[in-house]
């Protein structure tokens, strides 16, 4: 008997904060250093050292909290989370347990049923752990090598409410979250470098049942796509277990991307007991109203606000506004163009089309694009003045994108000026009419499509430089007078 199930998903996201130095010491956070080059007595957990909190970490955590509609808690504190594992030299991680810096926020995501609000339970600050590499293969290794560069890198952990109902919603939540964190600049959210990591809790319950089913925790998902696929797999696995009369076991499962499945990490015999207690090395935090207001004042426009403003201010379709506000640099680029050229939809079309295509093809970041926004504006003006046709504009655009040259210079150097000289065009039109008698006959017989073919032939003769409007007119005149 197949039953209908409801899926319940909650996500825990760790984001590395974009500070220069670590959370409790002055070691660099730079990625890619040789192992153990960025360590000191504090992050190595040597006895007698005193961690001191990096103020920027608190600023960033508050900023993330505000951007995610959270309450910023006036009082918060740090606790020790105790466990033995060599990635933590102190045998505890400094984290926040019962008094996190932010709580009760939400993110809005777009679903097929419209906008949906996903609650955020809390955001807390903590230090990252080191990196462990097992010598040889995982099952035969007898030793592990530890690099403590990552130990003490500042993180915020963003814990969602179990409000997510499909793997696709989970992906939408992550995409939205990443976009917001990137917009406000608190994290670069680079998944390959581990600056954004996601764990998922998932359970299923028969439709209509109030109590949650037993959940499993999924780890080791290295992309948003992997999160979605891991959740899809896990939901099906749990369904199968229940359908076969079994019970889901509460456990941690790791996602194997190559095998395309989740694998049990052998639930430990007893649940981990972290024995949290307040870290006496770190005095508690008092965040007053002034502090929160100062951060609020520095908060940039958020993706959804920007999208709404683009629709309102530039009369763009929702879709365009969504694409253009995907990242802050892209939105800034668009606005810099529109400042010089008022037809926002025309600018949007070029940016959504050729601009993004070339960006992808050349594998560039927007900051690396050579073409100045003003040059796109000038190219559009050249089109308006009839100097270049829309077809030629494509060539000019591509050249501008690749070289950064002015559009006028490209037009001049490549001889791309549109032919709008009537006598010159007439000459070519007559040649085309002569060479294509059957198409001319079709036009005479009212087949409109044939005129397009003839225009195309003229364009071919002029290598795209003929003014298409004029060609059309001259063709009609000449054929009618035949």
């Amino acid at each position: 008997m197949s039953r209908e199930y409801e899926i319940v998903i909650g996500l825990e996201v760790h984001a590395q904060l974009a500070t220069e130095s670590k959370i409790f010491c002055n070691c660099s956070t730079q990625f890619g250093a040789e192992p153990n080059q960025h360590t000191c007595p504090i992050c190595l957990g040597l006895p007698g050292t005193l961690p001191v909190l990096n103020k920027k970490v608190v600023d960033y955590a508050i900023m993330a909290g505000l951007a995610l509609n959270c309450t910023i808690n006036g009082y918060s504190k740090f606790d020790r989370k105790n466990y033995f594992y060599p990635d933590l030299p102190k045998a505890y991680q400094i984290s926040q347990n019962d008094f996190p810096i932010c709580s009760d926020g939400f993110i809005e995501i777009d679903t097929e049923e419209g906008v949906k609000r996903i609650g955020i339970n809390r955001i807390h600050m903590e230090e990252d752990a080191g990196k462990l590499v097992h010598e040889g293969s995982i099952d035969q290794a007898t030793a592990s090598l530890v690099d403590y560069n990552r130990t003490g890198i500042p993180l915020i952990e963003i814990v969602s409410e179990p409000d997510i109902r499909t793997p696709a919603e989970a992906r939408a939540y992550l995409t939205q979250l990443k976009q917001i964190l990137e917009y406000i600049g608190v994290s670069d959210c680079n998944m390959e470098e581990g600056s954004l990591r996601c764990d998922a809790n998932v359970s299923i319950r028969p439709l209509g049942q109030k109590e949650f089913g037993t959940k499993t925790e999924l780890k080791n998902m290295n992309s948003f796509r992997a999160v979605e696929r891991a959740l899809e797999y896990e939901v099906e696995r749990q369904k199968k277990v229940l359908e076969e009369g079994g019970e889901v076991i509460q456990e941690t499962r790791t996602w194997d991307d190559s095998l395309n499945k989740t694998i049990s990490m052998r639930s430990k015999e007893e649940a981990a007991d972290y024995r949290y207690f307040p870290d006496p090395d770190l005095p508690p935090l008092q965040v007053d109203k002034e502090w929160v207001e100062r951060i609020l004042a520095s908060l940039p426009e958020l993706p959804r606000e920007k999208q709404e403003r683009f629709v309102r201010e530039y009369a763009l379709p929702e879709y365009d506004a969504g694409v253009l506000t995907d990242s802050r640099p892209l939105a800034d680029y668009f606005e810099a163009c529109v400042a010089e050229y008022s037809d926002a939809k025309a600018v949007s079309n070029w940016i959504m089309g050729d601009f993004l295509r070339l960006l992808r093809e050349e594998n560039l970041e927007i900051e690396e694009v050579k073409m100045a926004p003003a040059n796109l504006a000038r190219m559009l003006q050249l089109m308006d003045k009839g100097v270049i046709s829309s077809k030629i504009a494509k060539t000019v655009f591509e050249e501008m994108f690749k070289t950064g040259k002015d559009p006028e210079k490209i037009v001049e150097e490549k001889g791309l000026v549109q032919i709008s000289d009537a006598s010159q065009l007439e000459e070519i039109v007559l040649k085309v009419i002569e060479a294509n008698p059957s198409a001319v006959e079709d036009v005479k017989n009212g087949k409109d499509r044939a005129i397009g073919f003839l225009v195309g032939q003229v364009m071919k003769e002029t290598r795209g430089k003929a003014n298409p409007g004029m060609v059309n007119q001259i063709l009609k005149d000449k054929i009618n007078s035949l």
Binding site: T19, E20, S21, N26, C27, S28, E34, P35, N36, Q37, H38, T39, C40, P41, L44, V52, L53, N54, K55, K56, V57, V58, K77, N82, F84, Y85, P86, V133, H134, E135, A141, T142, A143, S144, L145, V146, D147, Y148, M265, D273, R275, P278, P280, L282, P283, P284, L285, Q286
Partner: protein, 94 residues
């Protein structure tokens, strides 16, 4: 009273191994300590907030500034074993 299995749990949490006789010995000692601390419960703490910190500091910060780290050789000086600039430790299954 602390039972024998509580002592085992404690030993496990502290990642130390106790022999049968040690577990019994420590259970007795820890219980003596607990009885001693129990005395504090005689004080009336009605309406008194728990003290989490012995000092009344708050908001102690440093600026986000990078300073040179330890030289790697010095960082690794106390490592039980070292390989390729890393600490080499017995493998522990996660």
């Amino acid at each position: 009273m602390l039972a024998r299995k509580d002592v085992e749990k404690l030993a496990n949490a502290a990642s130390i191994k106790l022999s049968e006789s040690e577990a019994g010995k420590f259970a007795g000692q820890i219980n003596e300590l607990l009885e001693y601390v129990e005395k504090i419960n005689e004080v009336d703490t009605e309406g008194v907030k728990p003290t989490l910190y012995p000092v009344s500091l708050e908001n102690v910060f440093r600026e986000d500034k990078v300073e040179p780290s330890l030289e790697r050789d010095r960082a690794l000086a106390n490592a039980p074993e070292e390989r390729d600039g890393q600490f080499r430790v017995p493998k522990i299954m996660g």
